[in-house]
Amino acid sequence: QQQVKQSPQSLIVQKGGIPIINCAYENTAFDYFPWYQQFPGKGPALLIAIRPDVSEKKEGRFTISFNKSAKQFSLHIMDSQPGDSATYFCAARRGAGGTSYGKLTFGQGTILTVHP
């Protein structure tokens, strides 16, 4: 059972384009939604994160949009660069009050390629 569904599986854009990666979740106990970036041969690293009381968060060229009622969130990369080529994972974290507090559930991942 995949509690966080991510799409698309792969994405190719030209330099300067705006790739968008989408995620949907089911469990309303999630209270924190991070995005991780992974380069080949490396472990994932936190890129940006949002809490459900906010509809949008920007950090540099990266923006998360969050729709609590639809249980969906997405990552937008403005003015994408070849150096942004990586695998991106969305995730959702269980809130306090249960035995799984702090546990991250990940989406399936999106392989992004930005052509020069």
């Binding site: 966080v4 991510q6 599986q9 924190y32 991070p34 991780y36 041969g41 490396k42 472990g43 994932p44 690293a45 936190l46 994972f89 995730a91 974290r93 306090a96 035995t99 799984s100 507090y101 702090g102 546990k103 991250l104 559930t105 990940f106 989406g107 399936q108 991942g109």
Partner: protein, 112 residues
């Protein structure tokens, strides 16, 4: 900087062998996690630990066990390796349940 170190980058083991994957973190973090990463499936949680000698099952614990005898070290054990355990294994740690998780570089395990 937080450093999460996994003892091996690549491992090749035979079916039926007992396999140990080691992970060490240097930031005195309370929480440690083991994930496996497979194409199209993302990262799936195998086991996690909130304290020394404490462990909890994740989403896919079957065929695995863990050990946490010291705060900085979290070991994943494949009791009898099988080919379907060929995967990338990632260790992570965080200081508390609601803070950022830091990942190691991963161990690519091949079971033949």
């Amino acid at each position: 900087d937080v450093k999460v170190t996994q003892s091996s980058r690549y491992l090749v083991k035979r079916t039926g062998e007992k396999v140990f994957l080691e992970c060490v973190q240097d930031m005195d973090h309370e929480n440690m996690f083991w994930y496996r990463q497979d194409p199209g499936l993302g990262l799936r949680l195998i086991y996690f630990s909130y304290d020394v000698k404490m462990k909890e099952k994740g989403d896919i614990p079957e065929g695995y066990s863990v050990s946490r005898e010291k705060k900085e070290r979290f070991s994943l054990i494949l009791e009898s390796a099988s080919t379907n355990q060929t995967s990338m294994y990632l260790c992570a740690s965080s200081s508390t349940p609601n803070t950022e998780a830091f990942f190691g570089q991963g161990t690519r395990l091949t079971v033949v």
